[in-house]
């Protein structure tokens, strides 16, 4: 301990027109978990790309000293040879190859280009045991969950003799218990002398596992905090946003009205494995002016519930009753659901939500083109005007609404996604992980938008895997587990502990359905 394994000195990296990093410094000790914090666009990922050789030596200024030697990585291979392995937020696994094949992809156990399969499977089993992954190494990646895929990535890093592991938002798609498992794994690596750099937006995780925290803002190193000094989350946020954020959730006085959405005895089966029940006899109600949360682990059936309600966008053999403003409705497809005043804000903005190679303007009017057209002919000027209004209303930071959505930051993309559904003027918004992968500042702005919506008498059903968010925003909370609704809690009686204990007990089968 105490040995500096990595020192990055005065790293400056410029993109055409933007200085992404400006004399950034970071030091990592051997056997340390070092967290890198900052808002989206602060330069965290850029810094890690410099370190791992994705941006080759020469394309940046400054010095990298690793294990006492200055390093000049030209490619990822160079840095991996030295034991620096980066695991990206979006996993780089091939779905139709097996766990073992993925683990040794680009690093095959081969002689003269011919793969030794016995060695491959034997080795992979060993690394899988090290990360606590109990699967057959011949299982295809597509058949295991995201949590396990993340473990495969780490096992892959181990196979490369990792000494410094870099994880970019490793838990963003994991549920709480998988996330904790992952962090515990990092803590156990620490004992074996493997250092980690972890980039995360989740401050509770950082406090849980990090020894030191370096805060980056606008391409500058702001400070490095030592966990020994017992750092509060508020302290970290202050460094990230440059101001004290006393309240992470904007205040709201609820004005709750009539029942707007009623779902009764809702049962949904998997679209492909049609005998598998994904939502099991669920009943929920939603009132005007109310924010209702659905808590639960990943795979609890929350997304499936929302999507199946939204014009049967998911699932097969859907049964149950749906009432909107007291009237029974049968929504056969998505256009009907939109017509009925529903909106589903997807959890996967890039995959399911936005058309990245198209403009903000076109994206934001997409869900309800009828509002900007007559007899199917679009009034383009009206469209531009509406898009500009939405940009202003939601604070989308961009000079022009012609900008391609793919060029925006995560927070701004999320706002475009929300703008699209606000434009559709729904009464009931089903928001699935509305703040996933956006920074603290943008989160706050999205919370404000949600509060505005319910103040106008709309209803919001919010699915979130971040319990503090659910507790901070919702008037009422449902807890789902394994497709069933296991609890309904009022804001006053809910706490992280109570929600988790419902889930844990249900998973053990102590609460009968």
């Amino acid at each position: 301990m105490g040995n500096i394994i990595l020192k990055m000195k005065d790293i400056t990296k410029e993109f055409p027109g933007v200085k992404a990093l400006d004399r950034v410094n970071i030091e990592v000790e051997e056997g340390e978990i070092h967290a890198l914090c900052g808002e989206n666009g602060a330069g965290k990922s850029t810094l890690m790309n410099v370190l791992s050789g994705i941006y080759p030596y020469g394309s940046y200024e400054g010095e990298i000293i690793y294990q006492g030697h200055p390093c000049r990585f030209k490619t990822i291979k160079d840095s991996e040879r030295e034991g620096i392995v980066i695991i990206h937020q979006e996993l780089a696994l091939v779905p139709y190859l097996s766990i073992a094949e993925n683990m040794f992809l680009g690093n095959e156990c081969a002689r003269g280009g011919v793969i030794n399969w016995d060695e491959t499977y034997q080795k992979s089993a060993r690394y899988m045991a090290m990360v606590g992954l109990h699967e057959n190494p011949r299982t295809l990646i597509k058949d295991i969950g995201v949590g396990k895929q993340q473990l495969v990535e780490i096992a892959k890093a181990l196979a490369k003799n990792v000494k410094l592991l870099i994880l970019d938002e490793p838990t963003s798609s994991l549920n709480e218990s998988d996330a904790k498992k992952l962090l515990d794994l990092l803590l156990s690596f620490k004992k074996e002398g493997i250092s980690s750099i972890i980039i995360s937006h989740k401050l509770n995780e950082i406090s849980y596992c990090a020894d030191k925290i370096t805060v980056i803002r606008d391409g500058h190193t702001i400070e490095t905090l030592d966990q020994k000094d017992d750092i509060s989350e508020e302290r970290i946020i202050k460094g990230m946003v440059g101001r004290e954020m006393t309240n992470r959730f904007p205040p709201r006085t609820p004005h709750i009205g009539e029942v707007s959405l009623e779902v009764r005895n809702w049962t949904v089966y998997h679209p492909i494995y049609t005998e598998r029940k994904v939502v099991d006899d669920v009943s929920i109600t939603l009132r005007a002016g109310e924010v209702v949360g659905i808590a639960g682990l990943m795979g609890a059936g929350r997304t499936e519930l929302c999507m199946s309600v939204f014009g049967r966008a998911y699932g097969s053999s859907i049964s149950g009753e749906l009432r909107i403003h007291g009237k029974p409705v049968h929504l056969r497809d998505i256009p009907q659901a939109i017509e009925a005043g529903l909106a589903y804000v997807t959890e996967d903005r890039k995959g399911d939500g936005l058309i990245l190679p198209d403009s903000i303007k076109h994206n934001s009017t997409m869900a309800r083109p009828g509002f900007i057209s007559r007899h199917g002919v679009i009034d383009k000027d009206l469209e531009t005007m509406r898009a500009k209004e939405l940009r202003q209303q939601l604070g989308i930071k961009t000079p022009t609404v012609e900008q391609l959505v793919g060029n925006l930051s995560g927070g701004n993309q999320q706002k475009v996604l929300v703008a699209k559904w606000i434009f559709a003027q729904p009464d009931i918004l089903l928001m699935d992980e509305p703040t996933r992968g956006v920074d603290v500042g943008a989160k706050y702005e999205i919370y404000e938008i949600i509060n505005d919506l319910v103040a106008q008498g709309k209803s919001v059903l919010m699915v979130s895997s971040e319990l503090p968010e659910i507790l901070g925003m919702c008037d009422r909370i449902y807890v789902m587990n394994e497709g069933r609704m296991i609890a309904e809690l009022d804001r006053s009686e809910a706490s992280q502990e109570s929600i988790m204990s419902y889930i844990m007990q249900d998973s053990k089968g102590e609460i009968g359905a």
Partner: protein, 408 residues
Amino acid sequence: MNKKSAFKGVDLKRFGMLIALVIIIVLFTILTKGLILKPMNIGNLINQNSYVVILAVGMLLCILTGGNIDLSVGSVVALIGACAGTFIITLGWNVYLSIGLCLLIGIAVGAWQGFWIAYVGIPPFITTLSGMLVFRGITLLILNGLTLAPFPDAYQQLSTGFLPDLVESFTLFGGKSNLLCIIVGVLAVVVFCVAQLMNNANRKRKGYECETPAAMAVKMIVVSAVVLWVFYTLAQYRGVPTVLIILAVLVLVYSFFTQNTVRGRHLYAIGGNMKAARLSGVRTKQMMFFAYTNMGFIASVAGLVFAARLNSASPVAGQSFEMDAIASCFIGGASAYGGTGTVGGALIGALIMGVLNNGMSIMGISSNAQQVVKGLVLLIAVAVDVIGKQQIQLPFLRKRSSNRSVSG
């Protein structure tokens, strides 16, 4: 790519292809000592390339839905020619009734393929590969492997005919000229300019942003000059070709459809992100079905025009037409992944191919060498598109390409 072009994106790329077309025309004007711009050759250019332009318009709609292509159009062109030949020549039916029937057959063929693609989920490549074999086979069965000819004059007018002139002899600038042609040209210019002015006045009234008068003036002058020149040149030959009217109507209608209607917007949305489009309420299957049904209709129009031009129904008609149409779209800036591209671009792409063909033929370059040139032009055009996109679109690609520029 400098920053400005990245900012302007698609628009600039479209201009880029237009500039390429102008350069190619100028080049061939020099190489052929002006032959390529002779009135008769302009008429030929239009006739020779009419079917490619028609097919490219339909193909663009398919490509927009996600880079999907239709390989069967060449066979459908032959099939429709065979049907027209059978109805008109063998059975002696009324020409207009037969044309109507052929269009219906085209729509039915398109609907057949659209059904398998949209509602059963067979990849378009495979469905239309099957169609390519099936419809060519049906053509051979109908024609029994023989060629039917000739068509009556009324039918031939469809492709090789010209609009009848109003007066016997009319002279302009000291040469014999076609009055109707001049009138049509002037009318087109007037309609264009009035539409521009009205559109702008409308914007002003509703309080939207307007174009600057200078930009509008430049646009109007350039377009007017080109249109007037084309019609003046045509007037010196035999007047307005009927097929030019068909082309103009198709290009205008489909341009409007793709740019200004909700349905058109949906085509782009599907190509940009199918899942997002579906979750935004786009009826994706219906749109896929429409794109391919429409392709059948367009292929039948091309089939009718082409049979009229050949003046026969031939079992080998339309071979490799699909490739010309696909190439035109890609040269004209359509993305091979769908979601971007315009009818105007496809038109320019088809013209580039046409001018290359025509120019090289005049120069006496062998058709073998011509193929090499056309193939390379296609590759270069798409390469420019792909490289341009890496600069502007996906952040991870941008990183990689900026990398390359640094290390390279």
